[in-house]
């Protein structure tokens, strides 16, 4: 492996794979860094090795990834699996760990294509063993065929919730209930967005199919649930919630939660790219132009990491960014890159038609985001509760970073990925400073823990 590449792509999901293939086809020296052992990203995880039978259970969209991976494998792009990126600077220096070894790689152009992660939404008991993100549940299923042995409850909001319930059902898992935080109000609010959404009918028909199958199988589907709590002493024993004014509880040792996904912005924040709060998607996103260029020269972002658009949009965005990168490298001129990107823009526009509908429909209720229960642990690493954060704010620590200084909330190994949004919501709620104007946790590299020995092995010629 070299120390410098024309293009380094971080992430080998749909955006990264599509971009790498385009760039490599134009003879660009491309290095793709990926945390996973095989290309495909979260959405097409283990696509090369999943048995045909399991792939069938996972549905037709999963098959779509095969084409992407094959084209990538046939390209000249260099692939580095099992690789963690622990720093990214505005000068496009990238700190990586591969096979326990730390090293620095530099690039003329960097494409961040590291996707999204599940929105952490604190509620009482969410840190109990037995409560798991639906995405993690799906990873266990896709990667190793592991499913809950004694039935499962799914709770939250977002397309993955129904998909996973449907996948479990097909795999013979007892689905005890699907508890959706979406209220009827969302359906009403989402309806005006439907004509546009109909252009992307494949999403809707899929969702309806999942619901119908679950209903026919006799699964309890409760909409508009509130006050979700997980109970148990050492691990999950039961859950409780409110539905239509009455309190319900269910015995279960497995709860899959999902509140949609939000962009993984740690790298773009570390590099110093500008970000802004996106009201409809209820998350921070990097500020990008229509090519995916960030506020920093030579750093582009494609796919869900730049804003949630889903796998197909990510694939198109990856190619569009690749054409811009080709232009930045002087391989295409302005006219050529525009022309090359035109088809992907058209497809992407069609695919994005569903978004306003989905964003309205799956909008997380403000009550869950802004006012987590005082007993809810917000920072899992340092075990800081919403109540402690509120008292820090009441004591005059009026932004996220001051709360962090005082409570250590966000100082653990996850680098605040899990709690930064929740803290920002609580601060905004208590101080009445809108999220748009609030400050986020400052990023403190390494983004992934690095051992003293790994750090010590870098820059051997440097002295005091």
């Amino acid at each position: 492996m070299k120390d410098h590449y024309q293009l380094v792509i971080i992430g080998a999901g749909p955006a990264g794979l599509a971009a790498a293939t385009v760039a490599a086809d134009h003879d660009v020296e491309v290095l793709v860094l990926d945390e996973q052992p095989a290309p495909g990203g979260q959405i097409f995880r283990a696509i090369e090795t999943a048995p045909a039978e399991r792939a069938e259970m996972l549905g037709p969209e999963y098959r779509r990834g095969e084409k992407l991976v094959t084209a990538f494998n046939n390209s000249s792009a260099r692939y580095l699996p099992d690789t963690q990126v622990w720093s990214l600077s505005a000068q496009r220096e990238i700190g990586v760990i591969h096979q326990q070894q730390a090293r620095m790689i530099s690039a003329d152009q960097v494409l961040i294509a590291n996707g999204a992660f599940e929105r952490p939404v604190p509620f009482p008991g969410w840190t109990l063993p037995g409560v798991m993100n639906a995405g993690a549940g799906q990873i266990l299923f896709k990667g190793s065929g592991i499913v809950p042995s004694d039935g499962v409850v799914l709770a939250g909001s977002g397309p993955l919730l129904l998909l996973l319930a449907w996948q479990y059902l097909r795999a013979g898992v007892k689905v005890k209930a699907v508890l959706d935080t979406i209220s009827r109000v969302n359906y009403v609010k989402a309806l005006p967005k439907l004509p546009g959404a109909l252009l992307a009918h494949h999403h809707i028909t899929q969702g309806l199919r999942y619901q119908q199958t679950l209903r026919l199988a006799g699964v309890r589907l409760h909409n508009g649930i509130r006050d979700l709590q997980a109970h148990g002493t050492k691990s999950l024993e039961s859950i409780s919630y409110r539905h239509k004014g009455s309190k319900h509880s269910l015995k279960t040792d497995s709860l899959m939660i999902h509140f949609g996904v939000i962009p993984n912005i740690h790298l773009s924040q570390a590099a110093g790219c500008d970000h802004s709060w996106h009201k409809r998607q209820q998350c921070w996103r990097p500020e990008l132009d229509k090519w995916g260029s960030s506020s920093i020269d030579g750093i582009l972002i494609a796919g869900d990491g730049g804003g949630i658009g889903g796998a197909r949009t990510a694939e198109h965005a990856g190619r569009i960014s690749a054409f811009k990168i080709l232009r930045n490298l002087g391989i295409l001129n302005q006219r050529e890159s525009k022309l090359e990107a035109a088809q992907d823009r058209k497809w992407m526009k069609a695919d994005l038609h569903i978004r306003p509908f989905l964003e309205k429909l799956f909008r997380i209720p403000d009550s869950m985001l802004k006012v987590p229960h005082d007993n809810a642990v917000v920072c899992r690493c340092e075990e800081v509760t919403a109540g402690e954060i509120r008292s820090a704010i009441a004591d005059g620590h009026s932004d996220s970073n001051q709360v962090k200084f005082l409570t250590r909330c966000g100082m653990g190994p996850c680098q605040g990925r899990q709690c930064s949004q929740a803290v920002a919501h609580i601060v905004a709620d208590k101080t009445s400073i809108p999220l748009q104007q609030s400050v986020q946790f400052r990023i403190r590299p390494p983004l992934k823990p690095l051992t003293l020995e790994q750090l010590a092995s870098l820059y051997p010629d440097e002295t005091e």
Partner: protein, 369 residues
């Protein structure tokens, strides 16, 4: 808005000064351009170190150490202080020689807080050290605190005595008109007969506007912290021949510093970590504690501090303006001194004199003769 004293800078020096003045019944307003502790005061290593100070600072550091011992009586919180001692470890005969000279110099000044210990006692105090270490200079009642907690305690106490804090209040101009200082900010004008400059890395601007520019250089020393480990060491470890400050905090994390500088964009108030220098820092840790090689670093950061060319602070009355006072430029070792600095300034302002020898810290040392 009017008060008796306007203090520019809501960090430890400003808060300590405000507290001491308030204890003497004087009404202060503290103007903070961001939030208290945003830079040096909140993110420093929290060292309570008398060890290895320059002779001019010794009378101050010894009294400050006494104040930290009783910090709870001053601010109503122990500020998470611990006093397990600080060591300056020797790895060679040459190191030992240097440290012995130092110890002799301190003794000759009439102080006893620094002393040499041999190999045997060193390994009783810090058995985890690499076996090649041969001895150390020790200050037994040194220790550390948690800086942001200390700052919060000072600020709370000051506020409870009537000190007013104005945060996100950037000072645009200071002018003396008749007997009153007029401090113009984007959030209004503040007036007081007395002005105190505790603006840290930004204090140079205030000094310049009083007509006494100083060669202050902002810098951003880097720190790193590891994951939590089982308790294995008590004293704070420094080195005779390496840039290193190493301690295990109350929660088990290791806090590693060494005054390696980040690259700083002072205008944007941001800094970029310089990994080559932290790699050196990591090698220093591994030389003294090879068994820590697989410990994971979870965060690095750099806070912006004021450095003077001689690494000594400025603590004095203004040489050019009436009723204006300075306390800044602590060059990354001000935390320990902070309780006393507030007291000295309050004495100077109220009584017109202090018993502490502060002449070496006069701003006039930078002015052409």
């Amino acid at each position: 808005m009017k008060s008796d004293v306007v203090i520019i800078g809501g960090g430890l020096m400003g808060s300590s000064t405000a507290l001491q003045l308030a204890m003497r019944g004087i009404h202060c307003t503290v103007l903070e351009k961001e939030s208290p502790g945003r830079h040096a005061s909140g993110v420093n290593a929290g060292g309570l170190r008398q060890l290895n100070r320059t002779p001019a600072e010794i009378p101050l550091t010894v009294e400050a150490a006494r104040m930290w011992r009783n910090i709870e009586s001053l601010v109503g919180s122990d500020c998470d202080t611990r006093f397990p001692g600080q060591l300056r470890v020797a790895e060679s005969a040459h190191d030992l020689d240097l440290l012995e000279q130092r110890a002799a110099m301190v003794r000759s000044l009439g102080y006893t807080h620094e002393e040499m210990i041999g190999r045997e006692e060193l390994f009783q105090l810090a058995p985890a050290l690499a076996p090649h270490c041969v001895g150390a200079l020790i200050c037994r009642d040194d220790g550390y605190a948690r800086p942001f907690h200390a700052l919060t305690a000072f600020r709370r106490k000051a506020r409870s005595l009537g000190v007013e804090y104005r945060v996100n209040t950037i000072v645009d101009a200071v002018e003396r008109e008749r007997d009153v200082w007029r401090v113009t900010t984007r959030k209004g004008e503040f007036q007081a007969p007395v002005l105190v400059n505790c603006a840290g890395a930004w204090a140079g601007n205030i000094a310049a506007s009083l007509g006494e520019p100083v060669p202050l250089k902002p810098g951003a020393p880097m720190m790193m912290v590891t994951e939590r480990l089982p308790h294995f060491i008590d004293p704070v470890i420094g080195s005779a021949s390496r840039k290193l400050s190493f301690k295990q905090m109350q929660n088990g994390t290791l806090l590693i510093g060494g005054a390696h500088m980040a690259s700083l964009d002072f205008r944007k108030q941001t800094s970029d970590i310089k990994w080559p220098k932290l790699a050196v820092s990591a090698r220093s840790v591994m030389a003294l504690f090879p068994q820590l090689k697989n410990v994971r670093i979870v965060r690095t950061w750099a806070g912006i501090e004021a450095f003077m060319p001689d690494n000594l602070p400025v603590i004095c009355k203004s040489s050019t303006a009436e009723s204006a006072w300075h306390a800044f430029g602590f060059s990354a070792h001000g935390f320990q001194l902070s309780p006393l600095i507030g007291r000295i300034l309050a004495e100077l302002i109220v009584d017109g004199k202090s018993d502490f020898p502060i002449e070496p810290f006069n701003i006039t040392r930078f002015q052409p003769l």
